[in-house]
Symmetry: C2
Subunit: 193 residues, 2 copies
């Protein structure tokens, strides 16, 4: 897959999973991380887009002339909005909440062409249903360390895959970067993406 | 996650993705490959279960006393049933067929406790929708080599993730081993799986 565009993009995210997925897309990029505070209130659909915008804007200010891509992902289950767990106890609480139920994973995307100030956003949603989990399942999974650093305290591409009965929507969205939506967003800036 | 069962299982598959997914499940296993001919006719739902049974039976005959797990995966799109592509041309034909449409991924599972002759089977289905693909998309993806060796000529966990708009069902099923279904099948033999 050869791309004819000249500028590599700037990924405004420290997530190794987002880097991995962007690599799969064949997009040349470098990582510049912002220090945007992820703590915010509000409905998850608006929250993730707003946080993606803030991350993209913070990095665009430091990278004039670059095309910046940022993302923010949360898990919404009933009235609860789950980001990354604070500690193992918090991870266990989140997993107990998700067990045996459907939840939503939302990712907000924002791309900014810092050279001309153009900004585009997108939102992706995937529904995920977990199997019922025993206390032993949860304790065992938390002990692997995999939940830490992941929104909703699980990695669908890892061991938690065996707890996922079904999803509806983009699998890569659940990993933090909806590849099809990201590609469509970048294509607004250049058709060769 | 500690398991208390004694016997490791035997995975009757040469697929590195199935080994990876079984590793994520925390199941100790070794690989013994059968030489069952994958060429067969018939409806995909029956086909994959029958082929999984044949693979499991062939390996169980060589591993008396072991618990054997086998799987077979095909892609069904309209009337077409797609296994692994024969060559790059065949891969391009499959991808052109899948572009812009929903298709079904079926995996048949069979577990045999060779010590007592007990056999259990399961079937999992995931619907997958591809974005429309240009001839350039297809040629570029085939050139990466990723389609070879994969049923339906794509790897959802790889670059093809950006062509997948949505799925309905288990993501790991699309990779060849539905983790939740496999765990439930193995739990019929031992609750500690």
């Amino acid at each position: 897959m050869t791309h004819t565009f000249q500028r590599p993009i700037v990924l405004a995210s420290a997530s190794p999973r987002r880097s991995e997925l962007l690599t799969y897309m064949g997009v040349p990029f470098r990582v510049v991380v912002s220090d945007v505070d992820e703590g915010m209130e509000g409905p998850p659909q608006a929250l993730v887009v707003t946080l993606a915008q803030r991350k993209a804007q913070a990095v665009a200010a430091r990278c004039p002339g670059d095309l910046v891509l940022a993302a923010d992902t949360v898990v919404a289950c009933g009235d609860a909005v789950l980001g990354k767990p604070r500690d193992e106890e918090d991870a266990a609480r989140m997993l107990a909440l998700l067990a045996g139920r459907w939840h939503d994973v939302y990712t907000g995307l924002c791309a900014i062409d810092a050279a001309i100030g153009r900004q585009e956003t997108a939102l992706d949603r995937t529904r995920v249903r977990f199997l019922p989990l025993t206390a032993r399942d949860i304790a065992g999974y938390v002990a692997t360390g995999e939940p830490m650093g992941k929104a909703g305290a699980y990695a669908i591409q890892g061991r938690a895959g065996m707890y996922v009965q079904a999803i509806e929507g983009s699998p890569s969205n659940v990993m933090g970067l909806p590849m099809a939506a990201a590609r469509q967003l970048l294509q607004k800036f250049h058709p060769a993406f």
